[in-house]
Amino acid sequence: MELSKWIAQTRKGTLELGILVLLRNKKRYGLEILEILEKDSGLVVTEGTLYPLMNRLKREGLVISEWVESESGHPRKYYALSKEGKKLVEQMIEYWGKFSKTLSKLIEEGR
C-alpha cells in the first residue's frame, strides 16, 4: 500500500471525530472549524469538503445549527452537537483512547 493512500484513508476516517471533538464544549462556525483543522492538525480538509460534511452530520442528526449575527457583517452558521452527537462523541473518544493505546503498545513491543 502506498503511504499517501494510507494517509488519505486515515484522515478521512478521523475527520469526523476531529470535527465532533471541536464541537464538544463550544458551538463553532464553518470557517472557524476549517481554520483550526488547517492550522493545528494533520486533518487537512478543504472548504469544498468541510461544508458538505457539516451538512451531512446535520442530516445524520449529530449536529444542530443556528444563525448568529456577527461583527463581520454577515450572519454565521454555528454548529453544535445534538444530544445524540454528544453521546456518540464520548463513545468515540473512549474508543479512540483504547485504540491508540493498543496500537502504541504493539509498536513498542515490535521494536
Binding site: E16, G30, L31, T46, E47, G48, Y51, P52, L53, N55, R56, L57, R59, E60, G61, L62, W67, S72, G73, H74, P75, R76, K77, E84, L88
Partner: protein, 207 residues
C-alpha cells in the same frame, strides 16, 4: 470592512447565482442556507487575505478552493436525494441520487451500475412470467437433445423440432417468485448501501 470593487462583487454574485441554480433539487430553505453560508465564507476569507494580494486574485483563489458551483453542490444534492428518497420511499429521488453518486465517485459508479443491472434482472424474471400465458410456445426452460438451450423468452425456440420446453406453466410461478425475491434482495442491499454512505446513522433516516 473595506468596500469591495464591483468586479469582485460581480464574480461573487455570479458564483452564488450559479450555485443556487445547481442546488435546484433541494427545498428553497436549504438552498438559501447553503448559499448564505458560503457567501459569508467568501466574504470573511476575502477580508482575511486582502492584504496579501490583488483583490480579484485572492477571490479567484478562494473560489478555486471551493470548486466549481456544480462540484461544490454535488455532495449536498446527492445526500439530499438519497436520504429524502429513503425517508419518503421515493423511487425517483433514489434513482436520481444514485445517478449523481455514480457520476461523482468510483464507489458510487459501482453501486449505480450494480443496482441498475440487478433490478433489470429481477424485472426480466417477472417479464418472463407475464409473457408465458401470452406466448406459451416461446417462453420456458428449453432443452435441446438433453442439454440446456436457454431459459426465458425466445422468438425462435418453438420452430426448432429438437427443442423441448420442460416446465410448462410452472414457468409462471417459478419466474415470478425468483423475480420478486431478486427484487426484494436488491432493494435490501440498496438500503444498506445508502445507509453506509451516511456512516454514523443508527436510527431510521429522519430529518
Amino acid at each position: 470592512m473595506k468596500e469591495l470593487s464591483s468586479e469582485v462583487k460581480n464574480l461573487i454574485g455570479e458564483y452564488l447565482i450559479k450555485l443556487k441554480e445547481v442546488l435546484r433539487p433541494l427545498p428553497e430553505k436549504e438552498r438559501e442556507e447553503i448559499v448564505l453560508e458560503i457567501e459569508g465564507h467568501i466574504e470573511e476569507r476575502l477580508a482575511q487575505f486582502l492584504k496579501e494580494g490583488k483583490e480579484t486574485d485572492v477571490l479567484k483563489d478562494i473560489l478555486n478552493k471551493l470548486g466549481k458551483p456544480e462540484e461544490y453542490a454535488s455532495e449536498f444534492v446527492t445526500d439530499y436525494l438519497l436520504s429524502k428518497g429513503m425517508e419518503q420511499r421515493s423511487v425517483i429521488k433514489i434513482v436520481k441520487g444514485l445517478l449523481r453518486w455514480g457520476c461523482s465517485t468510483l464507489i458510487g459508479f459501482f453501486y449505480a451500475f450494480f443496482f441498475f443491472v440487478s433490478y433489470l434482472v429481477s424485472i426480466s424474471f417477472v417479464f418472463i412470467g407475464v409473457m408465458k400465458p401470452i406466448f406459451p410456445e416461446h417462453v420456458g426452460l428449453f432443452l435441446k437433445e438433453g442439454s440446456l438451450e436457454g431459459f426465458g423468452f425466445f422468438t425462435s425456440a418453438s420452430f426448432d423440432p429438437n427443442t423441448q420446453e420442460i416446465l410448462g406453466y410452472w414457468v409462471i410461478p417459478i419466474s415470478l417468485f425468483i423475480g420478486i425475491i431478486w427484487f426484494i434482495v436488491t432493494s435490501w442491499l440498496l438500503e444498506k448501501a445508502i445507509k453506509n454512505r451516511f456512516g454514523f446513522r443508527r436510527k431510521p433516516l429522519i430529518h
